[in-house]
């Protein structure tokens, strides 16, 4: 790891200004940044430590929704009683992510800024071509070992999978990211790779995530996060689904459905087509399974990741049916 200078921020404004200087980066939990610095992927000249700032870690839940400070840590949010009761998918996405140690370190703001786990991206000494790391250098993953790569939202420049769980739940429930006074819907905060895979987030130099806000809804209260992976715990998703459900008074007709996918796309992936296909329909296994196939509309595989196209709709269907049973 190359050396850098270290500055402990004394206020959010001072942190934003210091991190806007060329070569400077904000440091929160460090679980992504210090790791990538050791890999030689991140090469900051200066780190601006914001973990000692006060007042940015509050978790507030009212009738209107939840506001979670950027420095609230994943483990604390996962275990928060009101998050568990009002936004179960958010709590479940968090406690199924990473390990207990990492969840005690990693902040909510930092979680949104985590980078892909694409092994080619993480290994500059062996793979010089990576458009995400070095724009225009090419993509080592295309034609390489692709088992963990995206099938949705890819481009000719990049097929790296977005690995996070939390944002998958956030995008399902229309959360917004607070960048000081500026508000950005989570769905717009994450960018498709297109021709500029190096630009992953709709955040500019001099901006800092200060909070996330999740509006309350009946579907958010009746929600779940189903994560399927190669091992039972401490692993990224092979495919995951955040699902929320609101039924009509008859207890079987779908009034509102929210569906988002993780582990299969280049960004947290809202599946509007599945939601629309089942709106007003009875919650029945065959209909749910048929509609869930729409989750992977437009999917493109790169060989070894083909299984995700079959797996993702099954995960979506299982999550919806599980919610239906838990009446």
């Amino acid at each position: 790891m190359r050396d850098f200078s270290y500055l402990r921020a004394t206020s959010p404004d001072a942190a934003r200004q210091a991190a806007a200087l060329p070569g400077a980066m904000l440091l929160a939990g460090g679980t992504t940044l210090i790791d990538l610095a050791k890999c030689g992927v991140a090469e900051p000249d200066a780190l601006v430590d914001i973990t000692h700032l006060k007042g940015l870690d509050a978790i507030e839940v009212t009738e209107r929704g939840a506001t979670i400070g950027a420095l609230a840590r994943m483990g604390h949010v996962a275990d928060h009683a009101d998050i568990k009761s009002q936004f179960p998918a958010v709590s479940e996405a968090l406690w199924q992510a990473a390990s207990a140690q990492i969840r005690n370190m990693a902040t909510i703001g930092g979680n949104l800024m985590q980078r892909t786990r694409c092994p080619y991206f993480r290994d500059p000494s062996n793979f010089s071509a990576c458009n995400k790391r070095q724009p225009g250098s090419g993509c080592s993953a295309i034609g390489g070992v692709t088992r963990g790569h995206a099938v949705l939202g890819t481009s000719q420049a990049c097929i790296a999978m977005y690995p996070g769980d939390l944002a998958t739940a956030l995008v399902a429930f229309d959360a917004t990211v607070h960048l000081g006074d500026r508000r950005v819907p989570v769905d717009e905060f994450f960018l498709l790779p297109g021709t500029t895979p190096d630009k992953e987030h709709a955040i500019e130099p001099g901006e800092m995530i200060t909070a996330i806000e999740i509006p309350s809804s009946i579907a958010a209260r009746r929600s779940t996060y189903l994560k399927v992976r190669d091992r039972q715990s401490y692993e990224f998703a092979a495919a995951s689904a955040a699902v929320g459900l609101e039924l009509e008074a008859d207890g079987r007709t779908i009034r509102t459905l929210r569906v988002a996918l993780g582990g299969v796309a280049t960004k947290p992936w809202r599946a509007h087509a599945v939601e629309a296909a089942l709106k007003g329909k009875a919650l029945e296994p065959e209909a749910v399974r048929a509609a869930s196939l729409l989750a992977v509309e437009g999917a493109v595989d790169h060989g070894a990741n083909h299984y995700k196209i079959e797996l993702a709709p099954r995960v979506v269907a299982r999550a919806i049916l599980k919610l239906g049973e838990a009446a």
């Binding site: 200078s5 500055l7 460090g30 430590d49 973990t51 140690q101 990492i102 005690n104």
Partner: protein
Amino acid sequence: MTSKTTIPVHLDINGQHHELRLEPRVTLLDALRDRLGLTGTKKGCDHGQCGACTVHLDGERVLACLTLAAQAEGRTVTTIEGLAREGELHPVQAAFLEQDAFQCGYCTPGQIMSAVACIREGHAGSDEEIREYMAGNLCRCGAYPHIVAAVRQAALEAAQ
């Protein structure tokens, strides 16, 4: 902005105060092992994937390999060397001995630090929960069944 050479770092470790001068990039793990001789905390993967470097920061389990030493300033650090009290093993250490919860022992300090926190968090209510909440500590020898038994025993003792 601070120079890139070295910075003063004050650390509170196992109740003892230490004053060091470190390059900002030095992790808490390297400061513990290489500067302070506290080699109980192990370096496994050095990338946050194995849990061998687990220590407590303000009483919560974290990974020393992904924490800069400078970030630990003003916080309380507890390592495996700080668990025993007046020559008496911590109950989790004793449970690991009784249950034979290790083979080579390299992951054991991290397992024990993680287990102490796991029990304190209230995440040791069943074998299934213990497995989930201890998943961040890998054991290459495969002593997992005995580790679960040790955590279960210590959790039961703590509840009495």
